[in-house]
Symmetry: C2
Subunit: 551 residues, 2 copies
Amino acid sequence: MLKGLMQDRPLLLSGIIEHAARCFPETEIVARTIEGDLHRYTYAQARARMKRLAQAFLKLGVGPGERVASLAWNTHNHFELFYALPGIQAVLHTVNPRLFPEQLVYIINHAEDRYLCLDAETLPLVEQLAPQLKTIEGYILLAPRERMPKSHLPNLLCSEELIAAESDDFEWPEFDEKAASTLCYTSGTTGNPKGVLYSHRAAVLQVLLSTAADTFGGYMPGTQEVIMPMAPMFHGNAWNTPFSAPLAGHKFVLPGRDYSAEKLYELIEGEGVTVTAGVPTMWLILTDYLDRTGRKFSNLRCSVSSGSAPPRALMDKMLNKYGVRLINCWGMTEALSATKGTPKPGTEHLPQEEIFDLMSLAGRSNLLCELRIVDDEGRPLPRDGIATGHLMARGPIIAGGYFKGENDPMDAEGWMHTGDVASLRPDGYVVLRDRSKDVIKSGGEWISTVQVEGIAAGHPAVLYAAVIAVPHPKWQERPLLAIVPRQGHTITREEMLAYLKGRIASWWMPDDVVIRTAMPISGTGKILKRELREEYKNYVLPSLRGDSAAE
Amino acid sequence: MLKGLMQDRPLLLSGIIEHAARCFPETEIVARTIEGDLHRYTYAQARARMKRLAQAFLKLGVGPGERVASLAWNTHNHFELFYALPGIQAVLHTVNPRLFPEQLVYIINHAEDRYLCLDAETLPLVEQLAPQLKTIEGYILLAPRERMPKSHLPNLLCSEELIAAESDDFEWPEFDEKAASTLCYTSGTTGNPKGVLYSHRAAVLQVLLSTAADTFGGYMPGTQEVIMPMAPMFHGNAWNTPFSAPLAGHKFVLPGRDYSAEKLYELIEGEGVTVTAGVPTMWLILTDYLDRTGRKFSNLRCSVSSGSAPPRALMDKMLNKYGVRLINCWGMTEALSATKGTPKPGTEHLPQEEIFDLMSLAGRSNLLCELRIVDDEGRPLPRDGIATGHLMARGPIIAGGYFKGENDPMDAEGWMHTGDVASLRPDGYVVLRDRSKDVIKSGGEWISTVQVEGIAAGHPAVLYAAVIAVPHPKWQERPLLAIVPRQGHTITREEMLAYLKGRIASWWMPDDVVIRTAMPISGTGKILKRELREEYKNYVLPSLRGDSAAE
């Protein structure tokens, strides 16, 4: 092979913080501490502390490829771990404290984490788990000595003491860019959690993609942004914002553990936040707060949304009442930066309604993420916007397996099963239809539960809507709609069905509507349809009542 | 090593055109043909033709790593070669038709090109060179049969016939991302031209960097841009625009061979160009045209400039009279995408004069290009904005050698000598002082000829200014300023010196000024200081005249 004569240097995450400290030494990172006050420092100061932490981990014996867990909120201390550990070729394993204790124990033992970093808020949880954690040799509380709470945790270290004991004089080692960098388990809704093990190479590529002018850049014109992730760092690395903010030199604002609308609003206004990132649910809560208090935003212009399609009414209100454009894109722990949600070239002059139509789609695929859809036998389907199939993803930013090789997500041709059902439009947009396991097969055709739910949730009285399949003797499966009304609202089965009529295809109409007071919710805030299906597995649809024997 | 579990897929240029054809199939490429009319087609159509061309090259026997030369202007045919050849792991060798014939012969023989692609404009030149080209097996004229001129070139093929003979049904092969992709010789001002051999990996990384919101994106807010390179494709791949435009889905406008102000203006207005890229000289010519005709731009907002610092007066006029912001950055054939020229975060509210100060610097380094300065012994110097030294570059987007190993540009620690002398500011900006070979050493201190030239060129009567060293018995070297007045203007030695006084340090003041009618200019449009130095090597400065024996 004739090799290009370019320098053979690896893509490493340490390069990002070095870049930030060299080019944006004075740019601020502002983080709410667990105690609630604000901590301020600069990229140059952050780098110095990361280098000290890195040396402390080396002294603790953390070697290349070894995992260190974090059970922590969005603080500056947690941010520092994103460089201190990958920087020495160790792996930061971010763990979601909202998971159930048995899941946490499984995950930490499965990852064989050697140390666990925690904060004052997660301490009680960690104390509860500690007796079952088989590989943890010590606990590191991310706090100065004077804020260290009393605890009976064995081998409990104070992060600030570790930092104080080291010097700033440290050069990041160089190693293969394919080395693992961070580890994040997807809780899933079936089976054991699965570990997505990112590499330095994939993370740097993801971050380069995420800073593109036509990705987040579309509403971040220039370099003058202040970015605040509303996604926790244990959720897909807070969508890589701990890497993208330093890369672009953006002021970085971290909300700590307090995700109340009031505190988020205070930070957004107080720190001049221009861009946030988070799931649509956060925005339902925030707009509700703004509606109630009559407040407005001074600087916020854009929020990047992922996880589920934002309701049209929310996009409309955010833009037209509060001046914030919601950019929706598709991604998953296995596929960060897979799509971009900005409107594509040539669509800028469309009427607002049509732009909303585009932006409520699941974005367009990014350069390093090829997408295709296949049928049940794995045969590719056309990109005509109509054909619906299993969404498959391929590229160097996409997971190719899970930690310790369980649940291989790859097909024979090297494409990853996303677990989603989608159509691909000829203009590059992704239309997400459903999760493969949630989609309803009625008379051989697919019914998208997600789309029916989206429309049902548009009714002003509806807080949550979930559509599940119930068995049907003739059609195999038929949809059942479960709804939870908003506080202070009521809605009947008949009102809901009347609302849906004409808004969805007639054969998509739910065969019944049940009104509930609550939904089963997972540790990551998703409705657990598995539990709903279990609950309604013997449900007899009205059309079958009394005459089921006759079918 | 614990490898991250991400898909092991290469960064290849073919992925960019596949992405464009999938996501922006209808987006246009508009190119002026050699004959002067406009050719229009889409990314989907371009991909189909590239795939046909690729197969034609395979049939001609062009194998992996083999070179095919182009001596062609910015046409759609030339654009297609940027994918057809690298897409099959062959190497596109872009050759600058403005070089002197002996340089062209050297370059093509040195590269051992197997075929040479040309157009009707470069045909006479190629006919002249052909007898001396030792490795060329055939010539491919980029034109349809009906536009094929008569020629005695041996084995002359018609590109459109090659394309017509193939089918669209072709899958790009996969191979190592470190494979060579394109080859570009730097003409240099001393010694033989040196070949910079890009890799697919480096090119994809450069392009990802160039599409960042804070790189070109700062003035390209979103996806709705129309981009026209005014740099020819043989000049550092037209700054990678043949790759960045399809990646971002920008409409791509190519000026063919006609770089006259009138034709460029016509294209910019007619096609709604919003962003151009080119050397400042192009803008001197264009603003002169606008001044004379009273015309304005309707859509153009930004021009990315590189090669030399734009005069302040030009930046001012372009922005305040014509609404076009000039973004200046530093780069070289060996270091594409090395810096970004957009103002850094926190500078947006500075007075315009201060923003101009920043933007006349050489930009800020990009993530994958580390910069440092060293003294004559290679010792790193501080980043204080004052210390001045040899600029060194390191990173996966930077050249690490030249084709066939001549003139190794690397130091022992893996940094590339850029041949520039610079200071690095603590806020990340690069201050370019001079070329290492041009800088004047006077009494042990460096005088930046570039800075003195920039100020001299600010005088309204000055067209070209060049400062060179002449020997001095006491100070070793002292500066001599040579100027060429603008047409219809005159200027005297005394007027020039009076203009400089107070604008530059007194010990930087040229010891003499000579007024010339022309400058020696290289094939790439640069003033050949080497020839000036030769011409004035025995020049006796006024201060030494008559009493030189007394010194």
